[in-house]
Amino acid sequence: MEIFTQFADWLVYGVLGLAPATPLSGALQFFVEDVGKIFFLLILVVFVIGFFRSMLAPERVRKMLGGRNRWFSFPAAVGLGAVTPFCSCSSVPLFIGFLEAGIPLGVTMAFLITSPMINEIAVFLLISTLGLEFTVVYVVTGLVVGLVGGLVIDRLRLEHWVEDYVWKIRMGETALPEGPHGLRDRLNYALEQVREIVGRLWLYILIGIGIGAFLHGYVPAEQLMRYAGPENPFAVPLSVLIGIPLYSNATGMIPVVEALLAKGLPVGTVLALMMSVVALSLPEMMMLKKVLKWQLLVVFISVLAVSITLVGYLFNAIF
């Protein structure tokens, strides 16, 4: 990824002739480098995955999880949640479809928690920008948060807090159209995926890079450390709270995380912020409100917020 750094240096310091180490040139350099790097990686990854079509359809996941016991379905739900893409508009039909197939509420919730947090696109981008270590930590804790959140909701037996109409819906037999065949078809499909996914994500990513660039250039590390550093015992719950109303997808958070870690903020605090922004968000809550009574929505948010906070503290203590 050296080439993107060189290009950004060349453009900002050479062509534009800005002096190094000023807030503006620092922010601009970060912005140019990350736009090049992240969009290049995104297009590459989406194309390759589209070509091999490793993506699972939610309809298939529903079949796999239906009628299994919890020992199988809980780990399977978080695992499949990580590899199944669906747009947030689909979370309502998905929720109803899962329950209708007899999949327990807790398992369905576990799937809904993990799916936005972990996906193969974010994983590849995390590895190439933040390294393997952070990626493994992020993925493992994401799976654990999904599992714990689902298990707690399962234990509490909150089925009566699901909207009544949900239980009355009957789902038709799924007749899934077939996937692409042959090289040409696959190439076309992959290109189509690039168009669709980049089209959906680019704005989040640009905003994320903008925030990252601003943090990088204009926010002094000492100031950030004073508020969110290890000295502040409430930094972790605070980042979780800040993250709840904010929404971005995992990919868009990468540049922000990159800038915060570079400033020296503790890994657990940054992790908590990222998970809170990605997994807990107003649009998602409004979507889920259509199928959950408010009591269950409150439980859902609380369980997630608490487990993300614990994860944050844990990693601050370890690293």
Partner: protein
């Protein structure tokens, strides 16, 4: 030909509606186009990931925007 586009909120569904309408007009195929947003109805078709496309009561597509060439095949068939 009776075509229904299944989907709730996201812009994708409108994109599909427009795609089908434009293609049909270009090919001169007579269709009735309808958008289905009712969850019970969408799930009734066995579709969980939207947008989905139903032609004469049969699900031909689910989960994403179909390819233009695909739409052409449906309309000609």
């Amino acid at each position: 030909m009776e075509i229904k586009v299944l989907g709730g909120c996201c812009g994708n569904c409108d994109t599909v509606m427009k795609m089908v309408a434009d293609k049909a007009a270009a090919l001169g195929v007579e269709i009735s186009l309808e958008k289905v947003t009712d969850m019970a109805a969408i799930l009734g078709y066995g579709v969980m990931s939207t947008p989905g496309v139903v032609i004469d009561g049969k699900v031909v597509h689910a989960g994403g925007i179909p390819k233009p060439s695909q739409v052409e095949v449906w309309l000609k068939g």
